[in-house]
Symmetry: C2
Subunit: 322 residues, 2 copies
């Protein structure tokens, strides 16, 4: 077993294919407004005026954190990841259940610290922890978190709905998350609810697998493409530092597009709303960076406008010059 | 890593203590009618006339099943266990999310078969599968299932509520589950709802950790004890066969009290309702065994009435003659 944190974000093509095939076979009924495949499931649970949001997510030692990671931060990350998915629907998280897989080496102190990380973050976001199971996973720690949230029926933002001409926006910065952001990020719950309440983005997703892939989901749903401006991409300083320190590291642009674990919002917005939204957002959230990074275009694919021309960014991560 | 299925039911005293300590620290709010500690959490989600039930549960290769176990049965077990907890509250399961930890050796076929086991059982019980994540757990398969259910507010049966003099009842049989029952059991959803609708048990639990321990939870909540009749205990034939085949195996009575993974209902009922309930239950569920195995008494502890006298069954599993 390796204690190195692996790239936690990337899903292989065969994995994506497998999940896509499975999705089509899952039993659903009329109560399921949106099933597996969006950031959360959207459920009509019989709550007047509201949909319920259901999300499950797991983190695994050696993949999402290492044995050396502060257990409080591990617990915090486990719940914050699921909250980021609730944010992506502009929802409010309400209740969480925790399934803790403990390695043979566990101590009571370890469990206490993990739970302290989970519960202190849950308290901060007014989430009740309503169930906590433990099970033995001898080789490594596994934390599976399920969060149930809710959203006003007319304020729920899905991955589908982006339109050609819409601006593409992101909160925060992208890339180099492995240097620390992946343990310290703040799910953009308040920002997302504010956006939905005031400007209703046409589509939204949280950036967990990397901007290129996650934006790709929005574009696939819309059968559209995007043109991004390299100069507008908010690349995290950590990505630049990593690139400077090692020739083996990704160039910062590629890191921003593919590193993952940014846990920021990516949303599309009618261009007519852009200036007003930007102005009011900055007043409402002076500490949250927000950037328009490009626009939705009819032609599928992801294009990056650079100083020396437009490049096409392919699904496998290669940039081809046009 | 061992491929032997270990005793999946028993929790060590230190584990129970740890969980009890954690439980007291979990953040809750007014919406949490019953938090961690019952079979499910009971939540006021704003659904008129109903509570919502939240349950998470995980199964792990080498503990709840082996690498040789039919993957369809593994998937079936993973969801059926959580449904058994919904049954213990007399609830109806509605939506499930699945978190699948895949070992390095996984194949698409394995995943398909696990999901076939999950989805076919979900369909049978009208449960929608609304989310399915996968993650890498290199050494062994882990399946974490969260089920959200619902129950009429006046028909929800908790672990607390047993009264001295109540009869103690169980569905089905106990012991020797490892011979196969743990993969084939039927969560007693219909029986539990029928009981709640017609006779409202004073307390109910599902038998997952063994009758002695699980009944112990009902008794602890009531600050009471129980006197069971050995002759009335429905001991599974498998427990007798295991005892006959190996001197190392538990005697059948001890197996019935401690093996776990029975996934049957254990409930308490006012003695005045006993005859009517038994008569009507047998008509309603001719294929489900139901037994009155003893009664709740004031004095704490678990007593077993045998031919040669009354024995006290201690928490650690030893039987002391009185």
């Amino acid at each position: 077993m390796s204690d190195e944190k692996k790239n936690a974000s990337a899903k292989s093509p065969s994995e994506l294919e497998l999940l896509a095939r499975l999705k089509t076979k899952l039993p659903v009924d009329d109560s399921v407004i949106v099933g597996a495949g969006d950031d959360c499931a959207v459920i009509d649970a019989g709550i007047p005026g509201k949909w319920q949001l259901h999300k499950t997510d797991a983190v695994v030692e050696g993949i999402h954190f290492t044995r050396d990671t502060d257990p409080k931060k591990v617990g915090r990350k486990a719940i914050a990841r699921a909250l980021s998915d609730i944010a992506a629907m502009a929802g409010t998280p309400r209740w969480a259940t925790i399934s803790l897989g403990l390695p043979d080496s566990f101590t009571g102190e370890l469990v206490d610290m993990i739970y302290e990380g989970i519960t202190s973050f849950a308290k901060l976001k007014d989430v009740a922890i309503v169930g906590g199971e433990t099970v033995s996973t001898p080789e490594r720690l596994v934390i599976s978190v399920t969060v149930i949230g809710e959203v006003e029926r007319d304020k729920c933002v899905l991955r589908s709905g982006a339109k050609s001409g819409d601006g593409i926006w992101v909160t925060g910065e992208m890339g180099g998350s492995i240097s620390g952001h992946h343990l310290d990020f703040l799910p953009r719950l308040e920002e997302a609810r504010w956006l939905a309440a005031n400007f209703l983005p046409t589509a939204m997703i949280d950036l967990s697998d990397g901007l290129a892939g996650d934006l790709g989901h929005l574009l696939d749903e819309a059968n559209a493409g995007a043109e991004l401006l390299e100069a507008a991409l908010p690349i995290r300083r950590d990505a630049r530092i990593l690139a400077r320190e090692s020739n083996a590291a990704k160039p910062p642009l590629i890191a921003a597009l593919t590193d993952g674990e940014d846990y920021e919002l990516c949303f599309t917005l009618s261009p007519g709303n852009a200036v007003k939204m930007l102005d009011e957002f900055r007043q409402a959230f002076p500490e949250t960076l927000i950037s328009c990074i490009g626009k939705v275009i009819n032609e599928p694919g992801l294009k990056i406008k650079q100083k020396d021309g437009i490049k096409e960014f392919a699904a496998r991560g290669f940039v081809h010059f046009q």
